[in-house]
Subunit: 299 residues, 2 copies
C-alpha cells in the first residue's frame, strides 16, 4: 500500500478511480492539461506533476484514463511522455478504450525499455467508478497482472485477466458492441411504441419486469422515455467504441452487420450534432426515420 | 376465486401458467389437441373439455397461450372455437405474441357478441411462468383489466395495463425488438472475441460485471460461450416476433434498420435448420460470416 501511483486523465471516470486509490492509501501523483482537474485530488493529498515524464519518474505504477488510441500514444510515447521518465520495472496500466492493436503496439514499445504494460479498460460508467464496482478487463502478462491486481480491486469489483496483451481491449470491444446494439434496439423499441400511440413510460416499466431487463435499459430507458439526453455517457464515446469493434471485426475477417447498423446510427447522431449528448440520443436518429406526423397527433 | 377459468395452449408457457391458477384456487378447464398435454392438469383437478367452444360455455374467463395470430383466430373464431360457445360477459385473455392489428380485430369481433377481450402477452420465459414472475403487458378496456388483474397477478409479478386494445402487443413487440437486437449484439460480440483468440467464457464473466449485464446475457451468454443451443426459447419464436415488430414499424411508417438486421439473422438461422434450436444459435449465423480458419487454429 506504500506504492507510489500516478494517474493521468482525471475526467468523469479517472477522477473517482484515482480518488478510490487515494482512499486505499496509495501515494497518488497526478498530472493534467487543465489545472482545475488537479485541484480536487491535490486537496486530498495527491502530488501534482508537470508532465507525464516527471510523474512516471516518481512512481511505481502509472494509470492512464484518456480517450482514444492517439491520446494513449501521446501520453506514453509523446514529448515529455511516460516513456521519457520511466525506469525499468515501472508498470503502466491503461484504462482507456482503444484498439487492441494500439494496446499491443504500446506494450511492445514499453517492453523494449523494460516497462510493463497492461490494457485494462473498464465498464460500469461514472457511478461504477465512484462506487468502485467497475468491471476491469485486463490484457497482459500474468505476473504483471498479479502485481497490479490489489490496486485494480480498489477500483473495480470484477477484475479479470482476459488473456495476453490486447485481450482486455478485445473484451471491451465485445462489451461495447453488445451495449450499442442493445441501445439501438431500445431506440427502435421506444420509437415504435411512441409511433403506435403507446406511452413509452408504460413500455419501460413492462420491459424492466421481463426478459428485456438490463443495465442499459436502467441507465438509458428513462432518458429515452423522457427524451432527456443530458449525459451520462457522451455519444461520441460509444461512437468511437463501435468503430473500434468494427475495425477489430474487419481485422479478424468477420462481418458484423449489427455493429454496422449501430455505427451508422452513431454516425448520424454525430452528424446531427449529438456528440456530447447522452448516448441514448440515438433515439433521435430513429425518430428521424419516421413518417412525419400530422399536427395534433397523439404520438 | 370461485371463477371458472379455461386455459387453451398448454405448452412450455401455458402449462405452468395454468398450474399457478389451479394453485390459486381457480376452477380450471382445459382443452388441447394432444391428450398428453391435458394429463398433468387433469391430475391436478382440471376439467378436460372437448373443444374451445365447450370450454368457453362453462367458463367466466378463458386464457389462450398459442403461437401465432392465425392460431389465436382459429381458437377464437374457428369451428368449435371460443366464440361458438361464449356467452355475453365472458372475458377472453390472449397471452400469445401476435400482431397488434390481429389482437384489435379479434377484440372487435368478440365485442360484437358481448365478449370482452384483453391482449396480454408475457415476457420472462419458461422459468418466469413457473415462478409466476412474468411481465404481463395488457391492452384493453380498463374495467375489463380491473376484473382480470387478480387472476393475472397469480401468473405475473409485473402486470401493467399499457393502453387500449392492441397496446399490450405493441409493448411486447417493443420488448422483443429490444431482446433480438441484444441477442445479435451478443452473437457478434462472442464471435469477435473467439475470432480474436480470446476465451468467450472470460468475456462472458467480464460482461456480466459491467454495463453490458442483462437478463438476455444471463440466459443466452452461457449458451453462446459453450455453443450449446438446446432450448430455452426456440429460435422460431423470436423469428416470428421480430417479423411482428417489423410489420408494426412499417404500419406506422417507421424505418427500423436494427430490427431488419435481426430479422435477416433469424431468417438465416431458419434457413440453416435452426428453427427449434435455442435462439442463442444466431451465434452460428454470425460465425458463418467469418473468414475460414486455417486448420489447427486456436480460435
Amino acid at each position: 500500500m506504500t506504492e507510489r501511483v500516478g494517474f493521468i486523465g482525471l475526467g468523469v471516470m479517472g477522477r473517482p478511480m484515482a480518488q478510490n486509490l487515494i482512499r486505499a492509501g496509495y501515494r497518488m501523483h497526478v498530472c493534467a492539461r487543465r489545472p482545475e482537474s488537479l485541484e480536487p485530488l491535490v486537496a486530498q493529498g495527491a502530488v501534482a506533476c508537470a508532465s507525464p515524464a516527471e510523474l512516471a519518474a516518481g512512481c511505481d505504477v502509472v494509470c492512464t484514463m484518456v480517450t482514444a488510441g492517439a491520446d494513449v500514444e501521446a501520453v506514453v510515447m509523446g514529448k515529455a511522455g511516460i516513456m521519457a521518465g520511466a525506469r525499468p520495472g515501472l508498470v503502466v496500466i491503461d484504462h482507456s478504450t482503444i484498439p487492441p492493436a494500439t494496446a499491443r503496439r504500446v506494450a511492445q514499445t514499453l517492453a523494449a525499455r523494460g516497462v510493463d504494460f497492461l490494457d485494462a479498460p473498464v465498464s460500469g460508467g461514472g457511478q461504477g467508478a465512484i462506487d468502485a464496482t467497475l468491471s476491469i478487463m485486463v490484457g497482459g502478462h500474468e505476473p504483471v497482472f498479479a502485481r497490479a491486481e490489489p490496486l485494480l480491486r480498489r477500483m473495480g469489483k470484477t477484475v479479470l485477466r482476459i488473456g495476453d496483451s490486447g485481450a482486455g481491449q478485445v473484451a471491451k470491444a465485445a462489451n461495447q458492441l453488445a451495449i450499442v446494439l442493445a441501445l439501438v434496439g431500445l431506440a427502435e423499441a421506444f420509437t415504435l411504441a411512441r409511433a403506435s400511440g403507446v406511452d413509452p413510460a408504460r413500455v419501460l416499466e413492462a420491459l424492466r419486469g421481463g426478459a428485456a431487463a438490463s443495465r442499459v435499459l436502467e441507465a438509458m430507458g428513462p432518458k429515452m422515455a423522457d427524451r432527456d439526453f443530458r449525459p451520462g455517457v457522451e455519444a461520441r464515446l460509444h461512437h468511437k467504441d463501435v468503430q473500434i469493434a468494427l475495425d477489430c471485426a474487419a481485422a479478424v475477417g468477420l462481418a458484423a452487420p449489427g455493429a454496422a447498423v449501430a455505427a451508422q446510427t452513431f454516425n448520424a447522431l454525430m452528424a446531427r450534432g449529438g456528440a456530447r449528448h447522452d448516448s441514448s440520443a440515438v433515439l433521435t436518429v430513429v425518430e428521424a426515420m419516421r413518417r412525419p406526423q400530422a399536427s395534433g397527433s397523439s404520438a
